[in-house]
């Protein structure tokens, strides 16, 4: 799950991590007002207007603008809210922008990178820091791997003061800024664990030039990116509320409501499989025999007959689909329940496209019998004996 920049800023701020003053607005008129508020608070005339979309390449597309007056802020917001943003990440159709962020401009003396993520090999969360911030960390990893510092975080006691302090010195913070950076790192770790993050990334983390209030500069989080562990979402209603359904594929959302794991792809052969590994393997087999899967779909082990029927509705709602392959190896999943879902879907929507079904495992015999009994309602049904047989039949059927 992705969240918007303004939501990430709110999350950081709620854990006491300093961010520049900002407001999110939905109209050009509000942008005018927001400009006055945020610049007044920060004592500057510089602000930045940024489109809130889940795609990179905003700057190049003209959807991040520096402004020095309320009129400029209003014009920038007007442009972003009435034009589609097109960048390398959005595809040619572009994205509508419904919200823009108006943030106070800050002077930057230095840009850093700071993140926490899970390291599968060591089974630890790890803090990743670099004094070369503001660019993609992968580019730094490629060009200057020594510039990246990794610090493992103990699962039971968290990031320790001494670890954070050492990182702050290594990154080159001086004087009072060392304390600010240390505190910020500790808070980022607290946030990461409290909200079941999979990735918490501040880039850039900045140090401002010295001022009267901050003789060693001020440490601020300018932009942040979060990913959350889907398995942990159930205990975070606040994180769930960050979700913007408008940003997600409607068929994937529907599938999620039915408890199905579904990912839309570009091919023409719909797949319904139980188990993620077998679902991937089924896609691989279809491709091996010259077909193109239209989706990844794992119905899971505990899906009800209704969920199976919904799975067929979702697959059939894709106009590209002109054949379906069902591959079930029942462990938890009862093959008779899959058969019941097929028959119910046949009655409700009807299969006009070829349908190839392979059932094996738990209660497979009864599942096959149920399908045979409903043969009249399943004119396009072909039974398959194994994985290869099923893939070959469906690829041949779609032509």
């Amino acid at each position: 799950m992705k969240i918007h920049e303004y939501q990430a800023r709110d999350l950081l701020a709620s854990f006491g991590i300093p961010v520049p003053a900002a407001r999110v607005v939905t109209t050009a008129h509000e942008a005018d007002d927001a400009y006055h508020t945020v610049t007044k608070d920060a004592g500057t005339d510089l602000a930045v207007v940024k489109a809130q979309v889940h795609a990179g390449g905003r700057g190049k597309a003209g959807f991040v603008k520096l402004v020095r007056s309320a009129q400029e802020a209003r014009d920038a917001a007007e442009f972003m809210l009435t034009n589609k943003m097109v960048s390398v990440q959005t595809g040619p159709e572009g994205l509508d922008v419904t919200r823009v962020l108006v943030a106070a401009g800050v002077d930057i003396a230095h840009e850093f990178y700071l993140a926490i993520t899970t390291d599968r090999e060591t089974r630890r969360n790890v803090m990743i820091a670099s004094a070369e911030g503001g660019v993609e960390i992968e580019q730094v990893a490629e060009s200057n791997p020594k510039a990246i510092i990794k610090e493992p975080i103990h699962p039971l006691i968290g990031l320790q003061q001494h670890q954070a302090r050492r990182l702050a010195f290594q990154l080159g913070f001086k004087g009072k800024a060392v304390g600010q950076a240390t505190k910020l790192m500790i808070k980022l770790d607290q946030l990461f664990r409290a909200k079941d993050c999979a990735l918490a990334e501040i880039n850039p983390l900045i140090l401002t030039p010295p001022s009267d209030a901050h003789p060693d500069g001020e440490v601020l989080a300018i932009d942040a990116k979060f990913q959350f562990d889907d398995n942990g979402l159930f205990r975070h209603k606040d994180v769930q509320a960050f979700r913007d359904p408008a940003d997600e594929d409607p068929s994937e959302l529907r599938a999620e409501h039915a408890g199905l794991s579904f990912i839309k792809l570009d091919g023409n052969i719909g797949c319904l499989v139980n188990g993620a590994g077998l679902a991937m393997a089924t896609m691989d087999t279809i491709k091996h025999h010259g077909g193109e899967p239209a989706n990844f779909l794992d119905v899971g082990g505990g899906a009800s007959q209704e969920a199976v029927t919904e799975a067929f509705r979702i697959i059939l709602s894709d106009p590209n689909v002109n054949g379906i392959m069902v591959n079930i190896f029942g462990g938890i999943m009862d093959c008779a329940r899959i058969a019941g879902g097929i028959v119910a879907a046949a009655k409700e929507v009807g299969f006009k496209v070829p349908l190839v079904v392979r059932l094996e495992g738990n209660n497979a015999e009864n599942g096959r019998k149920a399908l045979e009994a409903a043969a009249g309602e399943l004119p396009t049904l072909q039974a398959a004996t194994d994985l290869t047989d099923a893939a070959q039949k469906v690829v041949a059927a779609v032509g």
């Binding site: 899970t118 079941d196 398995n231 993620a276 590994g277 089924t282 087999t285 462990g331 495992g361």
Partner: protein, 334 residues
């Protein structure tokens, strides 16, 4: 022999009164596993539908039954605690079937289990008899097939008099070396990150007349108990295992590490398969661990990098999932 479990392993079920726990306790009993009781806090003193005693705590269950293994079916929010309760009660083999356990919970669980095992042995080994072995979470469990006797009460699942199934896999697809169906006389160990893909592999080997010593579903989560290497080490040391079939999927670097281990330490024939060759980068394929990272233009955890590492280690790699059994047969020289 086989690994991890055998006909004498006494098993309890944590979450025995839940719908999945109840169904699969019955399934395991029908297969012939020595399921000796279950745990549901608050229902201690009662019996389940099979007449098995239910206890409030794992400790009580262990004291009363002598169980050394558990299968966990509790909801994801309680799975971490269930694993640690089993460990505290000195259960040796913990199979966590539950899907959807938060990664941070598993990080803490692994840290605690490593700590217990370290103080018990002075080593970080995860699969010695005196240590606690975790399988899963998000896995089908472990099965050591036994000879079929046909005396079972189940719906088509054969009763075995020397087998043990701890988990949710269909029993009938497995073959014991004494079965007439084991026409090759060969027995292989199977280890896999994916549940249903394991069944597919088992079924294919059985249909080719190859028996299985033990099949371990290690689960699809990024932080878990046993990994491929742990199972390879156990199978290499097991005299009943003639070859090893290793099934991986996209995401992480486990299979690369396992391939390296095979190159250096495994003398038995190894075949393998990696699922997700056609998965697009950046999309999570159902399992929390199954994702190709695509940041910065360089893809990591891809099927191709894993297949390459396996080939390089001399592992016979199946081109498609329909060829897993054939690849195993080829590796065995059949």
């Amino acid at each position: 022999m086989a690994i991890l479990i055998d006909k004498d392993t006494k098993v309890i079920c944590q979450g025995i009164t839940g719908s999945f726990g109840a169904v699969h306790t019955k399934g395991c009993l029908e297969y012939g596993s020595k399921v000796v009781g279950g745990v549901t806090p608050g229902k201690g003193g009662t019996e389940d539908a099979n007449g098995l005693p239910i206890f409030d705590t794992v400790k009580q269950a262990v004291d009363a039954t002598g169980a050394t293994a558990t299968m966990i079916f509790v909801p994801p929010a309680f799975a971490a605690d269930a694993i640690l309760e089993a460990a505290a009660a000195e259960i040796r083999l913990i199979c966590c079937i539950t899907e959807g356990v938060p990664v941070n919970d598993m990080i803490a669980v692994r840290a605690r289990l490593d700590e217990i095992n370290l103080s018990a042995s002075g080593a970080h080994a995860t699969s010695q008899p005196n240590l606690i072995t975790l399988v899963g979470p998000n896995c089908p469990g472990v099965i050591t097939p036994g000879p079929k006797t046909g005396g079972g009460s189940g719906d088509g699942d054969p009763y075995t008099n020397a087998g043990c199934k701890i988990g949710i896999m269909p029993g009938y697809i497995h073959t014991h070396r004494s079965d007439p169906a084991c026409t090759t006389g060969k027995t292989v160990g199977i280890v896999s990150r994916s549940g249903t893909l394991t069944y597919e592999a088992v079924w294919q080997t059985s249909n080719l007349g190859i028996a299985q010593s033990t099949c371990v579903g290690i689960g699809g989560d990024p932080v878990r108990g046993l990994n491929h290497i742990d199972c390879l080490r156990l199978f290499e040391a097991d005299p009943d295992t003639d070859g090893i079939l290793m099934i991986g999927e996209i995401g992480g670097t486990d299979e690369e590490a396992a391939a390296d281990f095979v190159k250096r330490h495994v003398t038995k024939p190894v075949a393998g398969f990696i699922a997700g060759r056609t998965a697009p980068p950046g999309k999570r394929m159902g399992h929390a661990g199954a994702i190709i990272s695509s940041s910065g233009g360089k893809a990591t955890g891809t099927a191709d990098s894993k297949i390459e590492a396996m080939r390089e280690a001399g592992i016979t790699v199946a081109e498609t999932p329909a060829d897993m059994g054939k690849a195993m047969a080829k590796a065995l020289g059949l």
